[in-house]
């Protein structure tokens, strides 16, 4: 009695597969029309990924001669173009990210908390804020440069090409992203947690601060870091601020003059000397590695703190 069990099982599996195919219509997928469509989907995927890969590989090959320590530790050099480096740009970009995060993260999280946990959605001003936020996310980055120039003038700064100026521009640029992702993260926290906390006698503030916000940290961190990795590659708003390119000292504070990596790359690609173009290609890879590092950090944070309910 027990011997036919195994073939039976196989039969069942085959039958189930056949039935599934019939039930889902998968078996009829192989009409010419659907094959063409499937081909188009594959082509789109292939095209997007291939173009990106090609770009990265060709850039890496262009810069292959310059993956050395001098690229990171030397300043931009015209006297010895073959040893030119991006020290000022790399450190400048790091300071810039520090400044941007300091400005954008608290304001962004606070705004999102207000809109999600406290705001009365029926008030016209809250709806107006929402509408503005969605529009702000689509504004070209150059406009934020102009906005930062105006803000710096209001704050009384004569010179706008300093870390603070760049940080204001980039913070404005990524604020909508941070606010939107933080709101998503807060929304993903089950309301049972809030209700439970409130039922135990906690105030709304205590509930938000001790329950909702900690539970939303992975989402907030991911959104913030993705926002920062977009900001680090921006050159256009910095150009408008008059950020210099020829800088041969390390920035030493938020009021220090500086240069950023994307600006140096932009400048070097238009120089006539082939050495600079090689160095620029190598610097593009450095920038990509920095962005990749930030994205990895985002994934690590998300995985480490992620909760399931």
């Amino acid at each position: 009695m027990s011997t036919p069990v195994i073939p039976d099982r196989a039969n069942v599996a085959a039958r189930t597969a056949r039935e599934t195919v019939q039930a889902t219509g998968r078996g009829r997928d192989r009409t010419p029309g659907s094959l063409v469509f499937l081909g188009a989907l594959w082509f789109s995927l292939f095209f997007g990924v291939m173009v990106l890969m090609l770009l990265i590989v060709s850039t890496a090959l262009d810069g292959a001669g310059r993956f050395d320590g001098a690229l990171l530790t030397n300043y931009f050099s015209r006297v010895r173009p073959e040893e030119t480096g991006f020290r000022a740009g790399i450190l400048g970009s790091m300071w810039l990210m520090l400044g941007t995060a300091t400005l954008a993260v608290p304001i962004g999280i606070a705004s999102a908390l207000y809109l999600e946990e406290f705001a009365d959605r029926h008030r016209w001003y809250n709806r107006l804020i929402e509408l503005n936020l969605q529009n702000l996310a689509a504004v070209p980055s150059v406009v934020y440069g102009l906005l930062a120039v105006a803000t710096m003038a209001l704050l009384g700064f004569q010179v706008t090409g300093i870390v603070l100026g760049g940080a204001i521009a980039l913070a404005l640029l990524i604020l909508p992203v941070i606010i939107i992702t933080t709101r998503e993260a807060l929304r993903a926290v089950p309301s049972e947690i809030r209700f439970g906390s409130l039922a135990l006698g906690a105030t709304v503030w205590q509930t938000t601060w001790r329950q909702t916000l900690p539970a939303a940290v992975p989402g907030i961190a991911t959104g913030t870091i993705l926002g920062l990795s977009r900001a680090i590659g921006e050159a256009a708003p910095l150009l408008l601020l008059g950020v210099a390119v020829g800088v041969r000292f390390d920035p030493n504070g938020f009021l220090s003059a500086f240069t950023a990596l994307p600006m140096q790359i932009y400048n070097m690609t238009s120089q006539p000397q082939a050495e600079f173009q090689t160095a620029a290609a190598a610097a593009i890879i450095v920038l990509l590695v920095m962005i990749l590092g930030m994205n990895t950090l985002a994934i690590v944070i998300r995985n480490k703190f992620q909760k399931t309910w």
Partner: protein
């Protein structure tokens, strides 16, 4: 949930903002601390002059790293705009300041300045290496680049030129090179035919001309020098015979009208009041030959250099 007083949200965000701003207020630009000259120098302006001012900054940094020089490249016009607001100490320019538009702004702001010529650039007309033409006259260039020009074949320029399609590459209208070329060749600044491949990046023009049969383009001499193996420079005849662009012909003045002077504009107040600016400018002019060599521009001839030195010596508050 929505009944909580809103100040709980506003207060921390304001506190954070205030904290962020005061934290920034801690440090400020370094000024004279030790015995040697230190301080900051702000330079902005023409992207053509950028390599010169940048090379001077690098050479100076090797001797005195305490002077923090920042060199920007906002363009000649953009440079004068911030210079006349007193935001920069020195403005790089690939053309003289405009007497009707820019100079009055500086005058209104009370900014007195001194113009110093620092090097010479030779705008070079280049063609694809297979084009069998060696020399063009300025009239022919004007015919090719004029606003209503319809020339699309080399033999339309001169019957003696080959029967070959002529494609054009050149800088875009925002470029100082474009301004200078149109002014000298077409007689009025900014006037040019517009149906050519325009790019703000001279490397794109170089690649375009090198890769297109029968192509012509123009840009600064440095870009020709770097691409001399894939491009051919045309000699220009302005009435006194064909002259090839070179360091010698540009310096001795025979390569006309496309040799152009490059300037820096120094704010007199910055020069006399800020030791770092004085140090930088003095160093720049003193080592002008080395600066021009490093940045691959054509150095001034003796007469021009003497004039620049004399002007520099005359700067007073």
């Amino acid at each position: 949930m929505t009944r909580t007083p809103k100040r709980w949200v506003i207060a921390p965000s304001i506190a954070v903002l205030a904290l962020a701003l005061t934290a920034c207020g801690g440090q400020s630009g370094a000024t004279d601390e030790e015995g040697g000259v230190s301080g900051s120098v702000a330079v902005d302006g023409s992207s053509t002059v950028f390599p010169l001012s940048d090379a001077a900054a690098e050479l100076l940094a090797e001797e005195n790293p305490d002077i923090r020089v920042t060199v920007g490249e906002a363009g000649t016009g953009g440079g004068f705009e911030v210079f006349c607001q007193g935001k920069t100490d020195i403005s790089d320019a690939s053309r003289p300041i405009k007497d009707d538009e820019e100079a009055p702004v500086c005058a209104d702001a009370g900014i007195a300045y001194t113009e110093l010529q620092v090097a010479t650039d030779a705008l070079t007309v280049v063609v694809h290496p297979d084009v069998e033409v060696d020399c063009v006259t300025t009239e022919q260039l004007a015919a090719i680049w004029g606003t209503d020009s319809t020339i699309s074949n080399w033999n339309q320029v001169d019957p003696g030129f080959p029967d070959q399609e002529l494609s054009l590459f050149g800088p875009g209208a925002d470029s100082g090179t474009f301004d200078y070329f149109t002014d000298e060749i077409n007689g009025e600044e900014g006037v040019s035919r517009s149906d050519y491949e325009a790019s703000e990046d001279d490397n794109v023009i170089a690649t375009g001309v090198a890769g297109t049969e029968g192509a012509m383009g123009y840009f600064g001499y440095t870009y020709y020098e770097e691409n001399a193996d894939s491009l051919k420079a045309l000699a220009v005849d302005s009435g006194a015979g064909c002259v090839l662009p070179s360091a010698e012909t540009a310096a001795d003045g025979t390569y006309t009208p496309l040799a152009r002077p490059l300037f820096i504009y120094v704010s007199n107040a910055s020069y006399t009041e800020k030791p770092a600016v004085k140090e930088y400018v003095d160093f720049y002019i003193e080592n002008l030959d080395a600066v021009a060599e490093v940045s691959k521009y054509i150095p001034l001839n003796d007469e021009q250099y003497a004039a620049t030195q004399a002007t520099l010596a005359g700067i007073t508050g």
